[in-house]
């Protein structure tokens, strides 16, 4: 396989690509007019825009396979897209690529309560899964804030989390199987209604692969019985240090709350101004801790957590006594992004994770960077697992401010890695953090990752330009030692 299709660098003209797509799909499955294409020009990372060559909306796995087979044979690039809410530019189109949109494949294929799984098409919205099973007392645990819109396929690709993932895990811990179409059009099934796979855990590689390894056309997820009750505490602290010590003490005290969120002063004020649910305004940090389970368990834990808060000098403590009150505690947190969005014309959401004990120090340094760059910042924090969302405030209409915001963001992520954390806790690398990958990984580390890409898509046609800072040719990466004129694995295609 010295020359793959991608190396034949004469991709067909646009007209030919559109015509071929029309042969495969019904008329409304191909979007090629300027106005129609513009609605796909960016995802949740709106600073990046690019109109795709053509957008296609298949309805079946067979159509997905036919599209990929055709594109593969002719060296045409493909970018998958679910609902387009990626915050890292994962679904950013390519000028010379087909945008493959999964939004028409949104059926629930099976709900198996006896085995507690649901089989879904990838385009279904995350929240629709819970809605489909809640009458039977079940729910789908990963709950990204975008859950009304974002698709399960996108969740799989980004390995998305939510406020409840501290206790219930992120997407990868809740997915048991996928059907996947490879770039060459071959369809494979990985996993299923089983709690364990044999062989290499390819399913584990697919989750979080940001659309670079294959198109997910079916997903089997675990559904869980809903906890009997949930209670929340709303806790104010005079210092970030007190709040982080509280979080550490809860966890080392043996309690894993269903969710534990923190906001800093600017975020608290913005949220309160937006939704007005009585957040205390004279504190530096606000923590929402949610506990779930049988009523007695909640009561027991509420008491323990309130006591830990007291020992850590909480200056205000409220405990929810009704479902309505619990939801009102969350209202401000859930609206934190749009609330902060009102403070400035634009905001830029970062997503690093840090070891929790470095929080106070990291927030201090972010504050210092904030004055250095002359841009405001508000911090929202998945406190239980150390996932930090600094929201950088800027005005894209002022020349140079977007660039400054991006540099500020990059500095924050470098800081996260410096203290032992990572570039992204749940939003993915995409185009956004691609060039920062060497901050966290050596070239050797990245080569080992990219060879996985080569195993699935040796011609690098699927979502190129995402995740990897430099796309090295697979032939170069795959070089092997030849000993005694004999290759190991002689039956394996070399790339």
């Amino acid at each position: 396989m010295a020359t793959g299709p991608a190396l034949a660098n004469s991709a067909p003209p646009r007209d030919a690509i559109v015509a071929a797509m029309r042969d495969i799909l019904p008329a409304d499955g191909v979007v090629d007019d300027a106005a129609g294409l513009r609605s796909y020009e960016s995802d949740g990372l709106t600073a990046y825009r690019q109109v795709p060559l053509v957008a296609v909306l298949p309805e079946t796995t067979a159509q997905v396979a036919a599209i990929l087979r055709w594109c593969h044979a002719r060296g045409v690039k493909v970018v998958p897209r679910g609902s387009g809410t990626s915050l890292s530019g994962g679904a950013l189109p390519l000028a010379d690529g087909v945008l493959l949109v999964l939004s028409k494949m949104r059926a629930i294929l099976d709900i198996d309560y006896a085995n507690r799984v649901a089989v879904l098409q990838p385009g279904i919205a995350n929240l629709a899964v819970t809605q489909a099973v809640e009458a039977e007392g079940f729910y789908y645990a990963p709950d990204p804030s975008s859950q009304i819109i974002c698709s399960i396929g996108g969740n799989v690709a980004e390995n998305s989390g939510g406020v409840h993932c501290l206790k219930y895990g992120i997407t990868t811990n809740n997915v048991l199987g996928v059907e996947l179409v490879l770039m060459d059009g071959e369809t494979v099934r990985l996993g299923g209604t089983l709690l364990e796979q044999q062989g290499l855990d390819l399913l584990g590689l697919i989750v979080g692969s940001e659309g670079l390894l294959g198109i997910v056309t079916e997903v089997t997820v675990r559904i869980l019985p809903k906890p009997q009750t949930a209670r929340a505490l709303l806790l104010g602290f005079a210092t970030i240090e007190h709040a982080s010590q509280f979080v550490a003490d809860v966890i080392s005290g043996g309690i894993i709350p269903a969710g534990m969120e923190m906001m800093d002063r600017p975020a608290i004020h913005a949220a309160e101004a937006f939704v007005g649910r009585g957040y205390p305004l004279d504190v530096e940090a606000l923590v929402i801790a949610e506990l779930d389970g049988p009523a007695v368990e909640c009561q027991h834990l509420v008491d323990e957590v309130a006591a830990i808060a007291g020992r850590n000098h909480a200056v205000s403590t409220r405990v929810s006594h009704s479902e309505e009150e619990r939801l009102s505690f969350w209202a401000g947190r859930k609206a934190a992004f749009p609330a902060v969005g009102r403070l400035a014309p634009d905001y830029y959401c970062m997503d690093g994770t840090i070891p929790r004990h470095r929080l106070a120090e990291v927030l201090q340094r972010i504050a210092a960077l904030s004055s250095e760059y002359g841009l405001g910042v508000a911090n929202v924090f998945h406190a239980g697992d150390g996932n930090l969302h600094p929201l950088i405030l800027y005005d894209a209409n002022r020349p140079g401010e977007l660039e400054r915001a991006e540099e500020f963001g990059a500095d924050i992520l470098r800081l996260c890695v410096e203290v032992g954390g990572v570039l992204t806790g749940e939003h993915g690398v995409g185009v956004e953090k691609r060039d920062l990958m060497p901050v966290m990984f050596t070239q050797t580390d990245l080569d080992h990752q990219q060879r996985v890409k080569c195993a699935f898509d040796p011609e690098l046609l699927l979502n190129p330009g995402k995740v990897f800072p430099t796309l090295r040719r697979c032939a170069e990466l795959g070089r092997v030692h030849v000993h005694g004129g004999r290759l190991a694995f002689p039956d394996i295609p070399r790339f």
């Binding site: 709690l195 855990d201 190991a488």
Partner: protein, 382 residues
Amino acid sequence: METERLQRAIADAGREGRRLEIRGGGSKRAIGAPRDDAAILDTSACRGILAYDPAELVVTVGAGTPLVEVEQLLADNGQMLAFEPFDHGPIFGEPEGKATIGGVVAAGVSGSRRLSAGAARDHLLGFRAISGRGEAFVGGAKVVKNVTGYDLPKVMAGSWGRLALLTELSLKVLPAPRERASLMLEGLTDAEAIGTLSRALGGDCDIAAAAHFPQGTARADAVTLMRLEGFGPSVEARLAALTQDYGGAVLRGEEERALWEKLKTLEPLADGALLWRIVVPPSLGWRVPKGLDGFARRWLYDWGGGLIWLTASDPEAPVRRVAESVGGHAMLVRAAPDVRTFVDTFHPEAPAVAALSRRVAAGFDPAGVFASARFAGGADAH
């Protein structure tokens, strides 16, 4: 230092076309086809606790650290490996204590709590390793939430040493439950037991583990167990709710632990030479022994019916065909050496998946240093 020595050993083997078999404590060495084409690469030099802060829920350890050492450290701090790993020694008639943390993770060993808390793969956050190229590399990280780059820890967990030598692991740890107790039902048939467990697992009692011991395995009568864990008042409330729905007796303390221990040592299956590990959709578990009819000798169910440990009377028993007929797969765990040479350890994969796995493996280990006759099929076919 140590890593460099191991790197050189692996690189040399690659250049010279030799094969290496990675060995931790050797507690699972009797799994797979007997082989003599590989030199042993011992992980015992990679031993020790490298970092541990209970409040961060992460422990970083050398791959060669004995499992018992890691578990002791965590227990001293009121924490645990929630996937409930165990030592394979007793399954092969050897004492416990040999298994290393690297071996447990590389073999994807998850115990009864896998049902509710996830498997070994769900708890491996990051690693350092040396690939078949003789190159040191890392995957994942040392924090509990991370999606930076491909999730290589997933593919390393359960890879049985076929991609790279793990030298260092960062594992997610969780608080150990303060209380635990089990509800025991007696005298149910397999189908009744699995049906009951399915129903109970669909309820809101947050069952940590669910197992069934058919008649004459744990006790003379069949025993069905549902384990509850957590805070005292919560365990009691859930026990009361379950008892109201299903009756049964509450077990605690040593008596309770001893029963669950049998799913780790597999003592009730000790006398069967041929031991299979079968994973199926939980609600269909009971069909497997039935489908095997006279070939099945004794069996135990874990994971609410989703995992069956079964001894068979005959190497020709159609275990794989029956497992497949309900959508599952079967691994041969224990058998005489001659049987292991002609029966593959792992269930054959679909050809396209097997080809993909081989390509992924070749990326880490192009010269096949870690490929071995031990596991025919799958990533190792050569």
